[in-house]
């Protein structure tokens, strides 16, 4: 058992239990153990007894911010659609937040998706979450029956084998390039803080693709999405995707075809990525959720890099910073807008 994560898990339980016990929050959102090795399940505790089911490990890969708006609605008194909420303080909910999740909560506050005063954030400094598919690859894709977590190694067991692998080797790509593992906003802390990290080449994944020719890049993109099922796990798991009707679901007008036609799938991915520009925190939920192992996070990572280069902005770090895509400045860079000349000629 990982000492650090066990300690964090214990503190989450204690904090959640006292918040629920005192009535400070009506529900507490965290993780509980899953039914498979390397799987955790997002979980809502509604009384202090249930707080005992909360747990923490290196496999908490899904961004909990995603559940917050619906959870907040669920604790409000029932009312008819369009009826305004009652006067006074509405019930609060508690939630665990790592660096990127807390940044998504900042974005949610900025975009009016959650009311900060109704959320009690229990911050956790992330040690980097582990990609269970990397673990599988590291043991030669053999069937895994148990994963035991220690602070710096994972002990992986299956029929007739036991292997010890370095935990960091199996950490997700987005976590490996994360500068801010500490929560940006929080009300309580479980475990200690670890400070910002220095990563000189944090966009190396994107730079490798940028270095390719246009044709090679297109080929890479098409290959990457070729096995996409259009299951929308990547979209549904993302805290940025909260439109009541997504553009892919719209039928009047219909923007995108519904089957796995190449062009339709490409359009879905390109538009999804653009809708996340200047908002995505590289939390990696989308990539972790994809059943087909598609690295669609690299599309948003490229846009993250562009937004930094063009507007000097990183989402979710400051609560009152203006959002680049909904703010206009006279001197905004516009070199990327194609105004004249032949196709693809940018000047």
């Amino acid at each position: 058992m990982s000492i650090v994560n066990q300690k964090i898990g214990g503190e989450i339980q204690t904090i959640a239990s006292s918040l629920l016990e005192s009535g400070e929050v009506a529900a507490f959102l965290g993780y509980t153990k899953g039914s498979l090795p390397g799987m955790m399940r997002p979980y809502v505790a509604r009384d202090s007894g249930e707080a005992g089911n909360l747990s923490w490990s290196s496999f908490c890969v899904i961004n909990l911010a995603n559940y917050l708006p619906a959870l907040l609605r669920s604790v409000e008194p029932p009312r008819r659609p369009n009826e305004p909420p009652p006067e006074g303080q509405l019930p609060k909910v508690g939630v665990v937040a790592t660096g990127c999740w807390s940044r998504n909560m900042v974005v949610q506050v900025q975009e009016n998706q959650i009311d900060r005063s109704r959320v009690v954030i229990v911050g956790v400094s992330s040690r980097g979450m582990v990609d269970r598919r990397k673990v599988e690859r590291l043991v030669g894709n053999r069937e895994i029956t148990a994963i035991e977590e220690e602070d710096n190694v994972l002990i992986v067991r299956g029929k007739g084998f036991e292997e010890t692998i370095n935990r960091w080797d199996a950490v997700r790509d987005n976590c490996k390039t994360c500068l801010h593992p500490d929560p940006v906003i929080y009300d309580e802390l479980a475990g200690g803080l670890s400070g910002d990290r220095q990563i000189p080449d944090r966009f190396h994944e994107v730079e490798e693709i940028e270095a390719l020719s246009v044709d090679e890049r297109w080929k890479w993109f098409q290959e990457e999405i070729s096995s996409c099922l259009r299951c929308y796990a990547c979209r549904n798991v993302c805290p940025l995707c909260y439109c009541p009707t997504c553009f892919v679901d719209d039928s009047r007008p219909q923007w995108v075809g519904k089957s796995t036609d190449e062009v339709d799938t490409a359009l879905f991915h390109i538009l999804r990525a653009y809708h996340c520009a200047g908002r995505c925190t590289d939390c990696g939920s989308c990539e972790s959720a994809c059943p087909m192992g598609i690295r669609m996070r690299l599309f948003t990572k490229k846009l993250q890099k562009d937004v930094i280069e063009l507007y000097g902005f990183e989402p979710g770090l400051e609560a009152d910073a203006p959002l680049p895509l909904s703010t206009y400045k006279v001197d905004d860079p516009e070199d990327f807008i194609i105004t004249a000349g032949k196709k693809g000629d940018q000047k």
Binding site: G34, L36, P37, L229, S259, A289
Partner: protein, 338 residues
Amino acid sequence: MKPLVVEKAQAGSWLRKLCQEFDVFGPVETKKGFYNWKRLDGTIVPHIPQGVAKVSIKTFFFPQPEVMFEFDARPTDPEAFRPIEPHCDFNPRVLFGVRPCDARSVALNAMPYREDPYFQRKRKETTIVAFLCEEGCLTCFCTLTGGSPVGIEGADMAVTELETGFFLEPVTEKGLRLLDYEFFRKPTAQEKSIAQERKKGAQKSVEDTASKLRSKDLMDLYNAHFWAAVAESCINCGACTFLCPTCYCFDIQDEALRGKGRRIRYWDSCMFPLFTQHASGHNPRGEKLKRVRNRFMHKLKYFPDRFGPISCVGCGRCVRDCPVNIDIRQVMEGLMEV
């Protein structure tokens, strides 16, 4: 029908022959490290992995999308909007290395699709070569669903892998047809007994979940206390339903471009809000809880009440790839306790 054996050294030649005559598909390891169905060219005998391939074989019977017909969409054309039979571009197929759960899923889907011409035509043209399982995975639970690791339901030929070669048992005429070559020999008494023993061992623990669930009151299951908790974690994506071999729901749309059109039938999922959205704006399954409950109730109660077996073959794909670890085995357990 009498079993035959093809020795390992001969298996390649047999498969090459099959590839000349049929479009043969088998599980092939992809760059991403999982197995998926790929057209075989006869140069290799695929290694059949333990457990199932990533995507189920429903794609062969219920493609994403199915072109139902084409039409001319120019209003000036007197023939406009008359359905035109779509160009059918497939040869008879062989699916090589199907696991018994996937083979059984085809038999189950054939119940609601019994009068569906698209499904039935593909089924007629497809021969399923099922590889019986010696060993399951952590997520396999066919025996809880009425299937078995050595089940032959839905298969046209059953294959037991032996040290010496493949022990082939044709189940249907279509399966027998694949043995029309010179590569085979009669099994030895020892081979026969090994194959028999394996079956006996594997068939022990089959449970009749379906009849237990059929005997329960529908509304009791519908009102079970745990639905809210299951739904709370679910993100309402389509990963479970799209990977599932026995999820067969679809939607239909016309796609038209520059005077040409086609009507397609494509995968839909009861997890999506649009699945039940009415034109009036009303949605009878407008909340996540209702959608989550429907997926399980359909598989575990409505389908067995109507057709007999539960609409799940225990392949474990949804368990393995649900991003938030919703595990149908736990839901089944919960329903059994109601």
